[in-house]
Each structure stands twice: as C-alpha cells, then as structure tokens.
C-alpha cells in the first residue's frame, strides 16, 4: 500500500452503501419532466378508449344504443358487456375471490360504473362519442349504508342469488360477503364480563381514496403477426397482471409482456385489475391496433379503488391500575358493489388482526363482516399494509378512550401496556409473531424530546384560560404509538390469486465491474433505483453508482409480487441481499484462485477480497469481475450472475412514536398544527434521506385523511367529493414542519435487518392527528368523534359540547 491507497473509511464511503443519504438517482429525470409514464407512451396508429359510465348508483340497464356514437367520424368501436360475453370477459375475478363486471351486465351497482367502452382514433373524439351512446336505465333502490344493506330485501348482487357460501365462508344475507373471525371469542367475552373497567366505543373510519397524482391507465398492443400482447400500465404488481391476463384471455403467458413504466404514485390504488385494462386489451385484440386508456381525475376518484370504509366497534378491558386484560373488535366493512379488496387470499380483512397494536393484551377477538352496498368497489391499502391503518387507528383510539374511562394519562397508559423488549419475538393474542421491538425506549425518547410534561402543563393552563374566557383556542396533544405488520409475506400464509408472496432479484455483474440488478417489485416513487443499489453495494463491494436497478418489465425482470404493503425492502430487498451474497460467494472462489490461496484463506473487505492476515494481498471486486469473464478458472463457470427468490420467514414489524401539538379555534373549527414529531424505527436504515422523504409524504397523506380527505356519498349514491375542489389533497401550504427522529431495532430474520418504512408515517400519523383533535376537547367531556376532522365537524364537536353557548 502506498499513500495513494484510499483508507477503509474512504473505500467504504465510495460504495454509497447502507446508511448513506445518497441522492435519488431517479430525480434527475423526474425533476426535468423526463419521466416516462403510461400516458407518455405513443405508438403508431394508436386508438383511444373512454368509458360511458353510469350516472346512477343502482339501476337496471335496459338498453344501450351505440348507433349515434358509431356514426361519429373517428369512432372505431363501442364495446358493451354483450360484446365481451362471447370471450367470457364481461366479468372478471377480483383479488378477493369475488367477481366484478368489466362492463355493466344488465345492471349497475355504483355511480361511475363502466357501461360501455368507446374506441376512437383520437382522445377527443372518444370523449364526444361517450356522450352519444344512449343508455336507458331503470332506477333501483339505492343502498349506501352497510347496516341497512344487511336488513334490506333489495338484492344488490343478483348474480350471487342463492349462493350461501362465498370465497371466505358462509354468507348470512344476500348483501353479506363474509364473516372473518380471529382469536378467542368466549375467552374474550369472559374477561370483558368480569373486568374491573371496560371502555366501549363505536367509530367510523371513513371512505377515502389514495388519489395518486398519476391516474390509472394502460396501453395494450396486440401484435397479430407474432401473437404477442404487450401491455403497459399503471401496475403495482406487473407480474401478477401478466398471469391474470393470461388466465383471462387464454393467451399463453410467454406471449404476454407487461410493462410498468414510471408510475406517478400508487398508494394501493394500482394493485388491482380494472375494467379499463381489460377493455384496452380486448379492444386491441379486436382492432389489431394499440389502444390506450387513461382515466381522468374524476374517474379515478369515483371508480378505481377506494380505501377504508370500516365501521368499528370496540371493547377494551383493564384493571383499575390500567393493565389491559382483553380486547374485542367488530367491524362492518363496506366493500361497495363488488368485493375487490386487494388482500392476500386468506385475509379478507387484510391484517386487521394486528389490532392489538403495540400492547401486551392477553386475550382478544376480532370479527369482520364484509357487506355489499351501492358504492364503488375497492378497499385497498392506501399507504399501508393490508388494513393496518384501520387496525392502528382502532387500537390507538381505544387506548385514548380507555385512558378517559380510567381518568389516566394516555402516555402512561401506553407505557404500562407496551410489549416489553425482552418479550420479543412476541406472539400476539390474534396470532402474529412480532419479530423485534423496543417500544419503551422509543416512547421515552419521543416524550422527552417534545417535553411531554411541559405540554400537558401548558394544555392545563390553556383550558383554565379558556374557561375564564381569555382565549377561544384549545390545545390538543395527539399521541400515537404504532406497530405495523409489513413485508407480506411468508408464502405459507400469503398469496395473491394463488401466487405466493415471495420476491426476487437477479444480478448480472459486467466484466468491467459494474452491474445491473432486476427485481420483481416496481417503484412508484419510493426510490428503489437508489436504495436497492445501496443494499447491493454493501453486499458486493461495487459502488451504488455503478449499479443499475431495473424493475417493471416482465420480459426481463424475475417474477415477483410487486410493490405495496411496504413489502419491497422486506422481501425484494432481502432477495437482493441474498443474490448479492451468491455473487460474493463466487467472487470469493475467483479471488482465492487469483491470489493462489485456499477459498477459506480470503475474506471480504468492503470492496475486495484480502488474504487473511495479509491485507496487502487482495483482489478488488472490479478485478474479480474481469477475471470472471476472461479467465478459465478450473471448476468455476465463467460469468458472474446470481438470482434469488426470497420467501421471508416472517413479516417485519416496524414501529414508531408520534406526537402532534395542535391548536383549535373552537369558533371556526380551524385546526392549526403547531408541532409534529415522528420517531420511526424501521430497523436497519438504508438511506436516511429517503426515509425522511417517505416520512414526510406519509404524514402528509395522514394529515389529509385525518383532517378532511374523504369520498362522501349522498343518499342517492352520488359521489359528493369527485374533484380536487372537495377532495382534500394537501399542498405545501397546509403541511406543517415535521421533526423526524429514529431508533434502530433491526429485524432479526431479515438479511440486513431492514423492516420497511414507506407506510409507517401514514399508519401512525392518522391516529396521531385525530387524537390531537380529540384530545383538545377531552377536558370538556369528549370521548370520541369520527374523522375526517374538517372545519365543520370540529365546529360541530365544539357546538355539541356547549362551547358556543
């Protein structure tokens, strides 16, 4: 070694591996308008599709007259259910074991439902033709309330009439989909019946929507000469889409190529399969030309997958000292007209059974009833793992209600019930095995940082001042402590349409020591091209800058189940590390050969293999890569490639502690967020800057949901919030400054100890914002009020408590 040799620290820094706040490599293109989204795809002779949608929430389709539309110059075809029926594509299976109309087959079940698909030479002609399709409807009684649906004689799903057994067991009523039960009902009831203290609450987690900036769309191109179908689309799971497309269309899977180009946000909205995708494929097959379908904002909000719509009733019991003894939860889940939830097959209510939260609760019971109504289908995991936001909101509200019941401080109540560090791995009452956690440390750090005691003292003073008539503003301290369950998942538990939820990575090291890695996932803004290169850099000793990450093209990427539920890092990230280790194992043999020592006599050192005890004798990964391609090494195949399919042994359980300080004007209902502190523990931190960005984004969507974002319907089933005027999408103006913090508790079973973080801030943020609003009114007797806490609902709460008298 000489003076020019970089020292270990410098070599390590050059890798830009784990822990480095490397700038996002994607941003150069996104910030310059050089992204390539579905709507940027323009093919020769491409046609455009647009939907005729139902103005009614429940109606019989008496007739569809296409004549006027077909007569418009430029219109190529108008497809209805009748046209799709011979191909058996007028209905399609949903991810939840139900089926869904592709185009209205005799009736419509929600406003905005697809009735006919117009195909034209031009996007504008298509829109004009939509207006010319004459549809005769006969209005039917509309049911938008799931409780009413379960009592009503009106049969929403006539196609299921007489079917008493659904995909998830018995159906109790013609508008009932399933009952899903977890835990020990008798045991829980017994504990509740004999408890010293029981708190009960009913809460509604309203219907909202992921509303990604880019709406859903696809371009299908059927090449009749070679029989190949190429499908570009906004797919969070392109490989699954390929399999589904093959099963539905009968085209052999090798003849289908699915490509997810750049995706402008998904948040769960782009997991499912939509009628638009199917119609663009059929239209391309029928016309022999590429067909594009891209929905507009209103279509996105009113027809593609919504999130939540859970009516939850809870009972929580405790000793007088506040030790929780049992939890009971019942959910009436409004799934809309079709059950199109995007959950692993065996989990019709997702992982709602994580609803015991971060607490050591000895016994619990959960039952979820899924119900049909005249609303859009969906029920996707909007920036969360399957139904985890619902679960965390539920338990974090129940804790607050219990604290009120016990007249206890809610922070202290949490502390005395946390699962203790030494209890991990911890098996919860509803079955999940939490991998690792250190909740007390995180909680103490959070409360100390925000000066929790000081905040409570200030709040007490504020209440006194309010009562003296000196102020009209109340102060709320919102707390939440959340545990997520992400990274689905073990193939033994989790599948989507029978596909096990593993994921994959394939790596090719090029002769000059740079590399490409392809994964089964697909970034929608998470920064995979940046972070997966970092994982690999640390594993194989090649700088992240020399590694290309590619996803989303099923012709090149290995099969994977896609990106949602914070599964990319836990599953594909693990596959990446494992594939990297295979590369390293082969590199070790090559290095030993080059250094003329035994395999066991060399060891990996950042970016090279060194001879043990003689660090001046080494081969860099670059040298090894070259040797892999230009030397005949006895007993070793040429090349340096590896592939890994990773089936995780368990999910990962990220957690965090959030505190929100809010001032509320009781006269106008306007909340003002004074402070937001977010401590996240996502295990090993791959890129702190990206984590911070994810936390900011997730918190902003949490703020939106808690404070106003909703898909509201009137009694006729009309969507009342179908544009961004009424659907709340926060901008920089509405967003407070966020303080971020962390602890690190690695996952014991993940190859690099990482847990996933993209959804944590949303999951933990929603109850934190909501609790802040509710806490402001605690001193005046409020127990619970439903989200969204928009101005008038906050005002109504204040009004109901007599604060305007």
């Amino acid at each position: 070694m000489n003076d020019m040799t970089p020292d270990r620290e410098e070599r390590s820094a050059n890798l830009k591996g784990l822990g480095c706040s490397r700038k996002r490599v994607e941003d150069a293109r996104f910030t310059q308008g050089k992204g390539n989204y579905v709507d940027d795809i323009k093919l020769p002779d491409m046609l455009h599709g647009d939907f005729v949608r139902s103005p009614y929430a429940h109606a019989r389709v008496v007739s569809v007259n296409k004549d006027a539309a077909l007569a418009l110059p430029g219109v190529v075809a108008v497809l209805t259910a009748e046209d799709l029926a011979p191909l058996n594509l007028h209905w399609m299976p949903t991810l939840a074991g139900d089926k869904q109309m592709v185009l209205a087959d005799g009736k419509v079940l929600f406003q905005g439902q697809e009735v006919a698909f117009v195909v034209a030479s031009d996007r504008y002609v298509a829109a004009d033709a939509v207006e010319l399709v004459e549809v005769e409807y006969e209005e039917l009684e509309v049911i938008t309330d799931p409780f009413e649906a379960l009592k009503s004689d009106v049969v929403l799903r006539e196609d299921l009439e007489g079917q008493t057994e659904g995909a998830h067991g018995p159906r109790k009523h013609h508008n009932h989909i399933f009952t899903w039960e977890q835990g020990d009902e008798a045991g829980t009831n017994q504990v509740l019946d004999n408890a010293e203290v029981v708190a009960e609450e009913t809460m509604y987690y309203h219907r909202t929507h992921p509303c990604p900036l880019e709406t859903c769309g696809s371009v299908a191109s059927m090449d009749k000469v070679n029989g190949k179908l190429t499908l570009w689309g906004t797919f969070q799971a392109p490989h699954v889409v390929r399999t589904v497309a093959s099963l539905l269309s009968g085209i052999e899977e090798h003849n289908i190529r699915v490509v997810s180009p750049d995706i402008g946000g998904g948040f769960g909205n782009k997991v499912g399969v939509y009628p638009g995708y199917v119609c663009s494929i059929v239209a391309s097959i029928v016309t022999g030309k590429p067909v594009k379908w891209v929905e507009d904002r209103m279509e996105n909000l009113m027809s593609t997958a919504f999130a939540r719509d859970y009516h939850m009733t809870g009972k929580i019991s405790a000793t007088k000292e506040g030790k929780i003894t049992g939890l009971h939860c019942h959910v009436t889940a409004d799934h809309g007209g079709f059950d199109a939830c995007a959950d692993p097959t065996k989990f019709p209510a997702g992982f709602m059974n994580i609803c015991t939260g971060s607490y050591d609760i000895p016994v619990a019971y959960l039952a979820v009833d899924g119900v049909y109504t005249n609303k859009a289908p969906g029920g996707v995991s909007y920036r969360c793992s399957f139904r985890v936001t619902e679960a965390v909101y539920f338990i974090e509200r129940m804790i607050e209600v219990l604290a009120i019941e016990l007249d206890m401080d809610a922070a202290e109540l949490r502390r005395i019930n946390f699962i203790k560090k030494e209890q991990f791995p911890y098996t919860a009452a509803l079955g999940w095995e939490y991998d690792s956690g250190d909740y007390h440390t995180a909680w103490d750090k959070a409360l100390e940082t925000v000066d929790y005691e000081g905040l409570r003292a200030e709040q007490a003073e504020r209440v006194a001042a309010f009562k003296r008539g000196e102020t009209r503003k109340l102060m709320g301290v919102g707390l939440s402590f959340f545990t997520e369950i992400v990274g689905a998942g073990p193939v033994k538990n989790c599948d989507i349409l029978g596909m096990g939820m593993f994921d994959s990575c394939e790596i090719r090291i090029h002769p000059t020591g740079s590399a490409i890695a392809r994964l089964g996932t697909i970034s929608q803004g998470q920064g995979h091209a940046t972070t997966f290169a970092q994982i690999l850099a640390s594993e194989i000793g090649i700088s992240a800058d020399s590694i290309t990450i590619e996803e989303g093209d099923t012709d090149t990427a290995p099969y994977g189940l896609g990106t949602y539920g914070s599964r990319s890092t836990p599953v594909a990230g693990a596959a990446t590390a494992m594939a990297g280790r295979k590369i390293r194992a082969k590199a070790q043999m090559i290095a030993a050969y080059l250094l003329e020592v035994h395999d066991d006599d060399v060891e990996f050192d950042i970016d090279r293999f060194v001879v043990k005890g003689a660090p001046e004798r080494f081969k860099t990964m670059k040298e090894i890569a070259y040797a892999a391609y230009n030397q005949a090494i006895p007993g070793i195949e040429p090349g340096l490639e590896a592939v890994s399919y990773y089936d995780p042994p368990n999910m990962t359980y990220p957690f965090g502690a959030y505190v929100c300080v809010m001032d509320i004007d009781v006269d106008t209902g306007v909340p003002e967020i004074r402070r937001f502190y977010a401590l996240d523990d996502c295990g090993t931190r791959i890129n702190p800057m990206i984590i911070e960005g994810q936390v900011h984004g997730g918190l902003t969507e949490a703020l939106a949901v808690a404070l106003g974002q909703e898909i509201a319907y009137d009694d006729m089933g009309n969507v009342k919030t179908g544009t961004l005027m009424d659907f709340f999408l926060p901008t920089a103006w509405e967003v407070p400054n966020y303080e971020t913090d962390y602890t690190v508790t690695p996952s014991p079973h993940h190859p690099i100890g990482a847990k996933g973080v993209g959804e944590s801030p949303h999951v933990g943020g929603v109850p934190c914002f909501s609790n802040a609003v509710q806490d402001a009114f605690r001193a005046f007797g409020l127990r619970h009020t439903n989200m969204p806490h928009d101005h008038w609902r906050i005002w109504q709460t204040a009004n109901g408590l007599g604060l305007h008298d």
Binding site: M725, T731, W733, H791, N799
Partner: protein, 284 residues
Amino acid sequence: MIPAAFDYYRPKNMDEVIALLQEHGDDARVMAGGHSLIPMMKLRMAEVPHLIDLQSIEGLKTIEIENGQITLGAMVTQHDLIDHDGLAAAVPILREAALQIADPQVRYMGTIGGNVANGDPGNDMPGVMQCLDAQINLAGPDGPRTVAARDYYEAAYMTDRADDEVLVSVSLTAPTGGYAYEKQKRKIGDYATAAAAVQITKSDGKVATASIAMTNLSDVPVWSEEASAALIGTSCESAALDAAVAAMLGDIDPSEDNRGPVAFKRHVAGVILKRAVTRAWDRA
C-alpha cells in the same frame, strides 16, 4: 375532463368581439384567464362552440390611478393586483383579497374582469367590489354603459350584463380609513366557507362610514347595508359587532355543501365578520 369541440377566436379589438357575440349569441363566450371557464368546459358543464379570447384586445390590461379615481382593465390579473404598489397603497383591500384567491399559478392567469363577470358566488372580487361601491363598465352593441357592482348580481351566474356585452373595466374611488378582507377556506384553492370585506372610516373615535359585503353566503355576493349602518357611531365594541352580525345574518342565505351545514356557515359568517370589522377598525 375533455371539452367538446369549439372554434377559437382571438380578435384584436372590442368591435370584433361584440360582432362575434352578436353573430353567435348564446353559443359564444369571451374568455379572459380561462381559470373558471375552461374547467367548466372540461367538465362539459359549459358548452361553448365559439370561444373568444380577449388576450389580444388593446388597453384591457391597464391599472389607472388618477386623483383618487381608479380604473382596472378587465384583463388585469389577480397577480397584477398584488404586484402593483400604487394600487396597494390606494386600495389595500385589493391586495389583501387577491392574496387569498387560490395560488400564484391561478393568480397569474385569473383576471379581475373574469372574476367579477363570472357570477359565481364563490368568487371573492364581487364582494370586494360591492364593499368599495365600484362601478362596472360594459361595452355592447349600443355603446358603453356602467352598472354599480351592488346592482350587478342577479343570481348564480346571472348578472346584469347582456350576452352581447363585454366587461371592459371596473372603476372606483380610492377608499379612506381601515379595511379588511377575512376569508375562511378549507385549503388553498378553495372558495370561501365564509368571507367578509369591510371598509371603515373613523371620525372623533367613532365609526363615520362603514361598508360590509359577504362572499359565498348566498347565490350572489351580499352587500349588507344594515350591517354597515349598525356600526356607524360606534367604536366597534362588542355590542356593535353583535348588532352588525345580526343584521348581516338577516341578509345572507347560505346553503349546505361539502364545506358544512347552514348553521355552521351562519356561525362562521358571524365570526369572520367580527374579525374583519375588528381588523378594519384597528386600521382605521
């Protein structure tokens, strides 16, 4: 969100505009900044087979201030209102109100003429114009005429302007005393839940004149003569504020929408008015 087909015109002078309006009647509309009209066309709630862009008409973009008389050309943007220091000094409520309209992107495009002419009860400038007792100057086939802003609004999207008339400018006398435009909205880019425009002059420690107008609390902007009168001779103490609010509540007629039910809007209207009066009084 795809508009129906339309013909696009970009005339150079007002005569051409009026001729086009006469030729096409109901089927023609002028476009200023387009930030109310184009969304309506995309939603196909407005069908405009003949769209007449006012951008190239000379002389519609000027802000004139002379001897306390102010004339704002129809094509003056909301951004221009904010940006013009002389105007801000002469009529500070205009800047305060314009800053509460949407976001900079919208304000670069949206015009005073469009905002006043549109007739949407959610627009902020009509109430401000009523508060200031502005005059609306129209040009039509029969020549120019002027209408007081307080007489201009008939119902939602219905104004005194005939289909073949064009709003050329608004003119007003620079107010004296204190002012305030107070607006509650759900978020940036939203119309008012309730808003109040207030001008107050003071003499001998009492209110000498007052003018109050409310936005988005009826199907037209509401200039409340009685609420204004309730303040005169007072020092805007609590009883005076209550009286003004009571009078104002007699004049508004809000309807329920996603911003909230009527009771909420009426309550907030009162709170907002009190705040606006208090601020204007402090500045008087």
